[in-house]
């Protein structure tokens, strides 16, 4: 058995409540190892080309053992969708509902949270992208609604930032898609064991996004108070004195 192999089901019988199945950290770990193995197979062979036996084989357990956690491959796919798409949407709304948060802080937090979710669920995210069509109609509609909600959260925060003068973006929707794309694409390249922690990558992506949007026209604002104007005079005089001095010494 591989280190990721789920243990046989507990002996307390098949009548346990679904909630109880997620109660212990151990059974949560086993459930996660099934989701990971299934994700790999769905990507490798397609959802249509994979069955529960394939998943049990990869994990080195019986189909009955698998049954304890998931009744069908459709149930696995639904769990994957729920874990990723809806978690993304929930995270996003938890940020954007805090209307008091300035757009810059809100967007930074949104990008870090979304990027972290993708970076810690790369396989699952790719499965969801690939297999959404195989979900039952109702679940598919829910997943699509969650994805749209996430997009709208990004668009809202960007539009708030443009309105406040903090951001510049000719088209808030294109900007939102650009940021989402940069986060989502990490599912295709990020390797958790390749040295750079997910946390650092998420911060880099957020920094990248913020710098793209933050307004900075390259010129400092004019001095706003008398003290600032005097500061400007002092700096100009000091610099001129240095230059005159240097010029005198050169002669």
């Amino acid at each position: 058995m591989s280190p990721h192999t789920p243990a046989p089901p507990p002996t307390s019988g098949p009548k346990r409540e679904p909630t109880a199945r997620r109660a212990s950290p151990r059974s949560e770990l086993q459930r996660q190892s099934i989701l990971d193995a299934a994700s790999r197979l769905f990507i490798e062979k397609g959802f249509g080309g994979t069955n529960l036996n394939d998943i049990a084989d990869v994990l080195g357990v019986s189909r009955t053992a698998l049954y304890y956690y998931f009744r069908s491959k459709e149930a696995i796919l639904e769990a994957l969708t729920e874990d990723v798409t809806e978690a993304a949407s929930a995270l996003a709304s938890s940020v954007s509902v805090r209307d008091g948060m300035p757009p810059e802080a809100a967007l930074r937090q949104l990008v870090i949270q979304h990027a972290t979710l993708i970076l810690t669920h790369t396989l699952q995210f790719r499965v969801v992208e690939r297999s959404e069509k195989d979900l039952p109609a109702e679940r598919r509609a829910a997943a699509q609604a969650a994805r749209r909600a996430l997009l709208e959260h990004f668009v809202d925060v960007i539009e708030r930032g443009v309105a406040s003068g903090d951001f510049r973006a000719p088209d808030a929707r294109v900007a939102a898609f650009a940021i989402l794309g940069m986060c989502n694409w990490s599912a295709w390249w990020f390797k958790p064991d390749a040295g750079m922690p997910a946390e650092d990558v998420a911060k880099s992506l957020a920094e990248f996004a913020m710098r793209s949007l933050l307004r900075d026209d390259g010129r400092p604002p004019p001095p706003a108070t008398m003290a600032e104007s005097i500061g400007m005079l002092q700096e100009g005089l000091a610099r001129l004195a240095e230059q005159v001095d240097a010029s005198t010494r050169r002669r």
Copy 2:
């Protein structure tokens, strides 16, 4: 027949050379309509779940008509891979070999060209991402090499820009993936008929990428010449005069 339906094959017989099949604009259009229809089916039903009859049915032509352009669904997939992945790599190298081009101009051109390629081949790009595993080993290796080459071109240009002081990027590879992700993800959201032309989206994405990377520490450089120092003094004095004047009038 739909407007995208390929015409029946020319009557000059099955012995024409493959190059001749791409000679006329009309046959190129027909070939493209087959690639588009196949892309939609590969995405909808998976590569394994699609056969040549499905493609012929969608286009309303006979399997023989299809045969004139492609001998098998594998040949269609190879054509899609070649069209997209290798075109991307070719475009990239055409830019980056011009070593004389400053990093800023080179990267901008690279992003616009790559984004334009994706934006004008959204379906095909998604098929390639999804079905690469179904390619023959040799073609798969070629596609992967082309993709790596593209990444390296981006990394090279970014590293050149960091070395010259034009860009700041804590990690050139993460920056390259962020830019590629933003371009590649457009395959999942861009709708050619939704109003915004591909050209404008490509420019927006390039602008977004450039602003993320261009060094700008937010403070202007100190005045470099006596004339600039005197200019700074004049600006500070003029501003102070306005402020004193406003303050006097308020009393």
